[in-house]
Amino acid sequence: MRYIRPLSIEDAVGQLAGSAGAAAILAGGSDLLVRMKGGFAEPELIVDIKAIDGLSEIRETAEGFSIGAAVPCAVLGENIALKKAWPGVVEAAKLIGSKQVQGRCTIVGNLCNASPAADSVPALVAAGARASVVGPAGRRTIPVQSVPTAPGKTSLAKGEIIEAILLDKREPRSGDAYLRFIPRTEMDIAVVSAGVNLTLDEHGVVKSARVALGAVAATVLLVEEAAEVLVGSRLDEATLERLAKVCAGACRPIDDKRGTIEFRRKVAGVLAQRAATSAYARAGGK
């Protein structure tokens, strides 16, 4: 096994693309090192991306925010501007693991680990986040939801690295929220989760919405029908009832020891309602 710490993204891409055996990208290592220890990953090459210029920064630009691939989740929680603009994304990222894990884990790692139960992913999908991908063929920007394709699998080609997650600048009267169900109070993996992102008009009516559900299918679900239910409403009781019904219907969950299909469907609806209510209040709706 070789360990390298390239200083440029081009060098990192070249090393990954040119590696003969299995290669792994190392940022926080909170998934990779566990998989290596368990014998589930035996990379020939480890590319530590933390020394690459700019990858450890959160940048606020005219278009919004750019969160570098090596930024630990703990840092997201300390960025006041990001927390104000995207509280749902930050609260999701802050739910991953313990304080110790927060000091290392990244949202790009959470995305590329491609767990159906990843906490930050439904929040990012609801936020309409995009991933900036660098590869041998150059740069491209793709929606976050197109990255995971199946549990543990991504759409990234050999040599490609996600260098940053891009979040749009906020329109006025916008809010997002993320909630998950776990049987404990902390340090657990989502049984069901929901992310909701709303923008209101000046009368408090929902102008645009995105609803994403986690841990209820092989990959995160962007539920467009649920967003349609919310648009044009002030989140009255009848709207929330319909939201729950649509979300429950959109789920394609499995039965396992952590939750049954029936339980996951029911809870998906409830969490979507609560996340929507929280996002609405954060957007200034009454």
Binding site: Y3, L26, S30, M36, D48, K99, Q100, V101, G103, E186
Partner: protein
């Protein structure tokens, strides 16, 4: 077998070592440098017994490669006391009998030190959430929480 040459700072001292690419920082600390305070409980980042502070961030040293410490600052339990004078957290852990077997204790002390550095006046709930990444199978946590509360009072007065 040759290794990766690493220059780092541990508890304020410049340290150099050679390590293998797949060797964790925990293994380097314990097996190469003789710093056996950090313990291996699970080896998968769940128990917190190997907690250290890396560039002011609390991390599990079992989830850090030895090679990653290049040019960084590492703080371990061995750097917590000043000579024969215990850190207030160490003193309060003794006074409150906040340990039995002691395996989790270095990790709890490091995590509590990080917690109080960032939040000098935590509520009981904040202490419990802040230490959720550290598992203790002996004490039931209550004595640990009380020791941290007491240490926080002492440290604020210092």
């Amino acid at each position: 077998m040759a290794g990766i040459a690493v220059s780092t700072t541990i508890n304020g001292d410049a340290v150099e070592y050679l390590c293998q690419p797949d060797e964790t920082l925990l293994d380097v600390l314990r097996d190469r440098l003789g710093l056996t305070g950090a313990k291996e409980g699970c080896g998968t980042g769940d128990c917190g017994a190997c907690s250290i502070i890396l560039d002011d961030r609390l991390v599990c040293s079992c989830l850090v490669l030895g090679a990653e410490a290049e040019g960084r600052r590492v703080e371990t339990i061995e750097g917590m006391a000043h000579g024969d004078t215990l850190h207030p957290l160490q003193q309060k852990f003794l006074e409150h009998a906040a340990l039995q077997c002691g395996i989790c204790t270095p990790g709890f002390l490091i995590a509590a030190k990080d917690l109080l550095a960032k939040n000098p006046d935590p509520t009981e709930e904040e202490i419990r959430f802040g230490l959720a990444g550290n598992l203790c199978r002996c004490t039931g946590y209550d004595k640990i929480v009380r020791a941290v509360q007491d240490a926080a009072i002492v440290m604020k007065g210092a």
